[in-house]
């Protein structure tokens, strides 16, 4: 069959066709386009005037911002206070250390996202070593000025709560998922009760428990760092959610895999370790990334039990400052964009991964 003749259209013609198909295909469609365009133009110009034309940039004083009388954004609040927003009350002269720790953390996240790192040993080595270096950077010692945890704050805390809140919850989550599918009635019951109990209550109540109730269950005089308690609460909370994700992966395993492992004479643990989990965990990776995003956003709740995370640092440096407090919109927008960049990047990665793994699975 001869190939159909190729129609050569000019770019202009092509874009006209595209416009007609996508924006003006019917009267109703045309009206929608015009209404949305009008709305966008109105909102867009107003926002542009506020955020760019009339705005104050650079390290201008609060008087300059007050003179704008709300007609322009006061980005100077960010220019003046970004260090405090990012690192809290960490000593000014030493703030390169948390900055380096944050960069290191991000590099480790990126490294963990590459396929060649997906081996338990490599990941444990990477995170073990990385954690040691970050802790050294944050806490000091060995040539660096010591900084007590009471002065830590801001973005490093948020990253720490999120990353360890997932990493350390993972083994527990896997055990709970296995427990929920176990043949042993008591093991199963304990797992189900734990998972459903945790998933049924909001994170805040668990954080309250950690910050108020926990001390009552320890021997008198023994006390934990507040930050550590919140971290433990987040780990225990996440484990239940991770368990449900892992359970999804386990359920997707065909029965033949178990039977084959059994035929090879493998016991329960060796079956799980060598046959089931490597496959089941792999297919749940995109879902795990999504639950990490949720966890990353959820860490901001620690503000309620007065932990100095990134959101708290932003709130403290802008809203609690009598001079600058009117410019909280700019401060919060700054915080929103930082959270957004992290979450959006991760959600795109999860989408990419999903299609990538699917394609691999099919070939």
């Amino acid at each position: 069959m001869p190939a159909p003749p190729r129609i050569h259209r000019s770019p202009v013609h092509r874009s006209v066709l595209w416009l007609r198909a996508n924006l003006f295909s019917s009267p109703g469609n045309t009206i929608t386009t015009l209404v949305v365009l009008g709305l966008l133009a109105w909102l867009g110009t107003r926002f542009f005037e506020w955020a760019v034309v009339n705005a104050s940039f650079g390290k201008a004083s609060v008087a300059t911002c007050n003179a704008l009388a709300g007609h322009g954004a006061c980005w100077s609040v960010v220019a003046n206070k970004w260090r405090q927003m990012l690192f809290g009350i960490y000593p000014q002269a030493e703030q390169w250390r948390p900055a380096l720790a944050v960069i290191l953390f991000c590099l480790m996240l990126v490294a963990s996202a590459t396929r060649s790192m997906w081996h338990a040993r490599r990941l444990i080595a990477l995170w073990g070593l990385g954690t040691l270096v970050c802790t050294w950077l944050m806490a000091g010692g060995l040539g660096l000025t010591p900084v007590p945890t009471a002065l830590w704050g801001g973005l490093p805390i948020t990253l720490m709560l999120a990353v360890f809140g997932t990493l350390l919850a993972f083994p527990l989550g896997v055990l709970l998922a296995l427990g929920r599918r176990s043949q042993l009635p008591i093991v199963r019951a304990v797992s189900i009760v734990y998972i459903e109990l945790i998933r049924g209550v909001p994170l805040i109540t668990v954080l309250f428990m950690a910050s108020i109730m926990f001390a009552l269950f320890l021997p008198e005089g023994v006390s934990f760092d507040k930050l550590l308690r919140a971290q433990i609460a987040i780990i225990l909370f996440n484990a239940a959610y991770i368990a449900e994700v892992v359970r999804g992966g386990l359920q997707a395993m065909p029965k033949g895999q178990y039977e084959a492992a059994h035929a090879l004479g493998l016991g329960y643990w060796r079956t799980q370790q060598l046959v089931i989990l490597p496959q089941a965990l792999r297919i749940t990776i995109p879902a795990q990334v999504n639950s990490f995003i949720d966890n990353f956003k959820d860490t901001s709740l620690v503000i309620i039990v007065s932990i100095f995370d990134f959101l708290y640092a932003v709130k403290q440096s802008v809203v609690s400052d009598l001079e600058w407090r009117h410019y909280f919109v700019e401060g919060y927008l700054f915080a929103m964009s930082i959270y957004w960049i992290f979450c959006f990047a991760m959600s795109r990665y999860s989408l990419w991964l999903e299609s990538h793994l699917n394609r691999e699975h099919r070939t």
């Binding site: 386009t33 049924g200 909001p202 109540t205 109730m213 901001s300 709740l301 909280f328 959270y339």
Partner: protein, 381 residues
Amino acid sequence: MNMQATERLRNVLYQVALVGAIGLVAGYAAFNLIHNLESRSIRIGFSYLTREAGFEISEKLLEYDATYTYGRAFVVGLLNTLFVSAVAIVAASVLGLSVGIARLSPNWLLRQMASVFVESVRNVPLILQLLMWYGMVTELFPPAERALQLGPMFLSQRGLSLPWPEAHAGWPAALLGLVAAFVFWLIWSRRTQRLRAQTGRASAAWWPSLVAFVVLPMAGWAFMGAPTAFSMPELGGFDFEGGKNISPEFTALFVGLSIYTAAFIAEIVRGGIVAVPKGQIEAAQALNLTRAQRLRLVILPQALRVIIPPLTSQYLNLTKNSSLAVAIGYPDLVSISNTTLNQTGQAIEAIALMMAVYLTLSLAISGLMNWYNARVKLVER
């Protein structure tokens, strides 16, 4: 001993060890707890619920002041949680459905707008959004003296003040009429459906219902004496008196929860619609149904089967997320329990009550949704 017997023995041992470990930890914790409570002279028990609370609550659906008990305060907080969750669930569903449909619109621009909305809302922590909304209401709106007047309503830092009918038996009667109209609508639409199935002729289903929705509430209102007295908001000092005030806390929580959850619901709705087989849509087109009819009669009923389970968990999330109210000072369950435990020191009881309530709510909502899910499930031949 044969292999099976060894395995059975091992299984028993595993479980005994697990129970033992849990028992040991629990026992140790209980031992410490008793000791700690003794040394701090806290008496455990729920008797504090009958003591006088001594704190005011700014928003309440029940009669309450500082002389009422902690138990009453707890109920007031619970009702506030339920109220804001219920209202926000309705708003989030409507908004989420619209955005989800807009994401599949043939109009490119609308599609893009919908995705920008979804991607910007769901990638920012809810608590930050709540703080932003709350700040905007309390800081950027004019003070009460210079409130924006929208007809009989006033918008200011004190929230939205609007006229509200004075208490009179006519209003509940009108509400009853509304419920009656709703019941009528249900019965009537079922009847017309049945008639259509029997005779094949479509009968006008909508106008008797519309009449019912207008006439029944008015009848109830008129029958009980047709009250017309409204309490109007008026500026007195620094605040509005009279009328009904919708507080900035409630507004921020309501708007924040609705928008945040709507972004997730939109994705669920989109996924559900995409999951409807293409042949269904083509068949509907072949029957010459309009786009709105296709959506309402063919696509949505089938998409609902896919949508309901994840939607349930979004409703649950919203209810649990309403606990963030404590960050902006709306007196919800968590906020009131927090005040209570700070005043009484009964941390264990207050937190346990709070968790029990959320657990019950979770189980209740998922039970309800499972029931509905079973009803809309595809009936296979």
